[in-house]
Symmetry: C2
Subunit: 635 residues, 2 copies
């Protein structure tokens, strides 16, 4: 049965299932969803179980959309909605999308707009025809999130056509009788960075991640014949937004790929923030960026977001499910179910198995999983990290001492993840009096990244999520935090001012505002520099951490100058977004059932091999440390 | 430096090296050779060491060709040559090729045409301008060999252009800075048949073998993206002519490949014989052949033959050398030297390590070899074969007994290899009186295959080669051997006649003339059927060998009929063209140095794994049994 026949068949079955008198004008795939167009959206909304029953019977994700023309005009519709939704809901914005018959309602308490089992939503549809999509009014405005929403509205016609084509491609007839499953490692084999894998079957090719390799120009092996032509790839699946996983995703569109990117909503937003910044940094450093910001917009336009746990068809023979990875906001362990029970393969992305102040621990529980690609960043024999408590203790001590000396503490941190964690630690320490009250300056994209965190509270751990929605408990809104404006003036004032803490990007001192703070603070022995994350070889951070007493840094006029390091230098281990070796082993140990095979990737050569060897010895499973450009077959 | 610049540079260097007064009109690559065109071929021939010295200095294989126009006309040239070459040489034919300025001289004693260190050859050139190419007059005429020679002469313009293009492609500038070497298993991973590997580097792709899988329609995974587009493949390298290595080579030209095939001269001839027969059998069985005989001619036109031991550039970064494999006529172990000392990888093809009546044992001595792909046909734990002496003893006994009973012995055998071995065994046994004198009928392509063997005596073992050129000792010319004509009449006469031995194709009773003999001889309990080779699952041979007392076979009218097996059935192990398990292990044991890694291929799953395990345990080397569609990287 081809797609058109299948859709006709589905329309007939739907018409048989629903009460008479509800007119179905069209049935169409849009991305992984089956969309039912009706001129009777109000009648559809009458029966609260109707869509759910249909979805169960047809084994499809179903969306009902009103035909254009049966919708109440936006202004009167707003009034209707205001009348239906209780005032406590705190609606702050409406966004009507006539092309899909949806109205996005921003509210401070989305639950009150949804109602019990969605009853209020149905009331809205019955009254206005519009399908409401409720989002939480974030406590901090994010320009990234707003821009993406505006852009997608503006591009909605093109986007709709893209979704329709993608939907038809996903549901195309299978053409091959052959059965095999294989994965080609296109990057991050025996190295950290440039994550990229190609999962392929006779029918389908999926690219998982497409990152850069920090401190180098090396890209994944996208030119490998396995991945070409890029147009033949069915889908890109992104585990999380860090650049070593996402930086080169927009590049795919420059090279002719025009299919979907599947990822979580926070990862889409963070990818947008980080890749635009990536282009910016490249331009500032006088390098030619591999693509321009138009390609980032293309990527956004082609992104289909999925929440954790939504089992989704992404090809005729592949179902995708994201699960929390505990690493950064929206980070996912990716699970692929291939064929009808044929094989299951997972990609950990980067994981943190223990719960952190920001996130629940990584999920390691799957109905079935025969093969896992597991990150090995800290897979080495000696990669045992101190506990987070020990790390916090050390950090607090050095802050106290520096404050007592009248100095400032500079903490280089990635905008996404580590910065938010530091904010929570510092806010709590200050609130509980463990460190003196003082300003915490945020320099770089930290504030914007924090805003994106608060726009996706359901991706944070339970405790933090709850606190964010009580304004006086939202740690990110504490008085101590002060955003630093672009330009050097405020930075000089900070240098000349009272004791303070400065969180500045980037986290490895390979550029960014942290460099200017370093230049100003380094000559003063009362100040402190605290490393709270991994410093990759070749970065200024690594050079300072290794004990150099002077380093060359680019000066503001584009040349480079020497900075003498007289400030105190501390390394505070234990804040990593990655699980340490014991965590990685526990992650595998506590899987049930354990996979048959584990591929250790995304770690230096020695670490991938050491982890492979440990897993083999502990669990007697087959373990492999694949090289880039290798292809392994599972079935 | 691009190719044109390089050729200009070479021409200057050649002009500097040679004595003044010899005019060089052009210098061009033709395939892997550098061809020097001169209007003074006679002066070139004056100095016997000139070409050798140039070759050494330029590190190139050099051919000198006269400009057209400086050549003596063929008829007077013949007379000149007759005057120069001693009568004992026994010249039987001349073939003048004006396009390359070559004259092919067929002689019974080529050595006398060549003269000491080529002195007679040079005399011929000095006298006539023509470059002589001496070939031995084969003791048995082969229509295959003649047809190929005629065809290549006819296509010489196209062939010359092909060689020129290939030469330029081989010597193109390298474009990649990257360094890696990898092999994709496209067939014969954990199975026997459909041999095919893709060796690739950033610069180059080489396809090694492209065979069918007997008894199935399965082809190698040519559609894998690694091998596509086929036009991007630089070269096909063929280990030997058996169909499970060669059958689908012509298909490549149907799919758009138009590059060279490198193989030995006997393999080219046998491939032509066997692939044409392959098409014939398919047509007779009512199957649609995957290509037609025009594609076989394309393959022949694109074949560049290399003798054992000739180190040859086949790509900017790859040198190829063939070595004797001891398996069938012209069979080769293939050695690739990659980069400038970067890596060496070998493919055993099919091997016989011990010397046989036909061939010297396989070569296992290479200057360097880091990785070997090793056949595993008999790699299983219990694959110990009886010695050839034991096998011959058993065969002789059963022949004597059948003769005494007044019956006939039917031996199904592959036309290439096993048949010639049987002929030698039977001729010797009869000559020495160990079996009574009786006719040995040869049915199928056996006679033609034997002719090809005698056309390439230098590929036979030393003893056999010597005997072939003494007419009264040439075992293939013994009186007992009688070729059976196509058609059933003579076969009926054989059935009704005196005791005899019948060697008939094909070797697994999957079709061919052997079927008709079976039908006629099977009902008589005085007759015998002797299996001397492997019977693949699903073939009539395997069914009879397993003890069935009746089998269904296709009848002459295209339907099938039941044949009752009342004749005696014997299995005579020990004649295999493959080394047994002990030989395979000795082959590796006696390598010096042993490779770091061995991939066991071309064997049933259990056997590849058993051999991998034995090699790992004996020699502590890394061993892998790759699956089809897997890619492993070495550097």
């Amino acid at each position: 049965m081809n797609v058109d026949e299948e859709l006709e068949d589905l329309q007939e079955r739907i018409e048989d299932e629903i009460p008479g008198g509800i007119a179905i004008s069209d049935v169409e795939y849009e991305g992984p969803e089956l969309v039912i167009y009706t001129s009777d959206p109000k009648k559809f909304a009458d029966d609260g179980d109707l869509v759910r029953d249909l979805a169960r019977k047809l084994r499809k994700r179903i969306t009902v959309r009103p035909d254009p023309g049966v919708l109440t005009d936006p202004e009167p519709a707003k009034d209707e909605i205001d009348g239906i939704v209780p005032d406590d809901a705190g609606i702050t914005d409406y966004d009507f999308k006539p092309d899909v018959g949806e109205v996005v309602i921003k509210a401070e308490k989305p639950g009150l707009v949804i109602g019990k089992h969605g009853s209020t939503l149905r009331e809205i549809t019955k009254a206005t025809g519009w399908t409401p999509d409720v989002v939480r009014t974030p406590p901090i405005e994010s320009s990234t999130v707003d821009n993406i929403r505006r852009y997608l509205t503006q591009e909605s016609d093109e986007r709709k056509e893209f979704l329709r084509q993608t939907g038809r491609r996903i549901h195309r007839e299978e053409t091959s009788d052959d059965e095999w499953v294989r994965v080609t490692t296109l990057g991050c084999g025996r190295e950290v960075g440039r994550a990229a894998f190609l999962l392929s079957t006779p029918e389908t090719r999926i690219l998982i991640d497409c990152g850069d390799k920090p401190g180098t120009d090396e890209t994944p092996y996208l030119q490998a014949p396995e991945a070409n032509p890029l147009q033949s790839i069915d889908a890109v699946v992104l585990t999380h937004a860090h650049l070593d996983h996402s930086a080169l995703v927009p590049l795919l569109y420059k090279y002719g790929y025009d299919g979907p990117i599947y990822t979580t909503p926070p990862t889409r937003d963070l990818m947008s923030l980080l890749t635009v910044d990536y282009l910016d940094v490249a331009a500032k450093q006088g390098r030619t960026p591999p693509y321009d910001s138009e390609m980032v917009r293309e990527a956004i336009k082609h992104t289909i977001t999925l929440d954790y746990g939504e089992v989704t068809d992404i090809a005729p023979d592949i179902k995708l499910t994201f699960h929390n990875a505990g690493h950064i906001l929206g980070s996912a362990v990716v699970h692929f179910h291939i064929g009808d029970g044929l094989y299951n393969v997972g990609f950990s992305g980067d994981i943190h198995y223990d719960e952190t102040r920001l996130f629940n621990g990584a999920v390691n529980d799957f109905p079935r999983l025969e093969t896992l690609f597991l990150e090995s960043t800290y897979g080495g024999r000696n990669d045992q990290a101190p506990s987070q408590e020990e790390a916090e203790e050390k950090l607090i001590k050095l802050i106290r001492k520096t404050h007592d000396d009248g100095g400032k503490v500079l903490i280089p941190a990635f905008a996404v993840g580590r910065s938010q964690e530091m904010m929570i630690v510092l806010e709590e320490a200050m609130r509980k009096g463990r460190i003196p009250e003082m300003p915490v300056y945020l320099d770089g994209m930290i504030w914007e990244a924090t805003a994106i965190h608060t726009a996706h509270p359901e991706y944070l751990n339970d405790d933090l999520r709850d606190r964010i929605f009580h304004e006086d408990e939202n740690p990110f809104l504490a008085d101590c935090f002060q955003q630093v404006d672009e330009g050097t003036e405020q930075r000089q004032e900070i240098r000349d001012g009272e004791p303070a803490i400065i969180l500045a990007t980037n986290g490895m001192m390979a550029g960014g505002p942290v460099m200017e703070h370093l230049e100003m603070l380094a000559p003063d022995p009362e100040n402190s520099l605290a490393f709270v994350g991994y410093q990759a070889e070749g970065t200024t951070g690594a050079r300072i951490e290794s004990g150099r007493d002077e380093v060359r840094v680019p000066s503001s006029d584009g040349r480079s100058e020497t900075v003498k390091i007289k400030m105190n230098v501390y390394s505070v281990d234990g804040f990593s977004g990655h699980g340490d070796r014991d965590e990685l082993i526990s992650f595998v140990d506590e899987m049930n059932p354990r996979p048959e095979k584990i591929f250790t990737v995304h770690g230096d050569e020695g670490k991938t091999k050491a982890l492979a060897s440990a897993l083999y010895q502990n669990f007697n499973m087959r373990t492999i440390s694949p090289m880039n450009l290798e292809t392994h077959r599972f079935i």
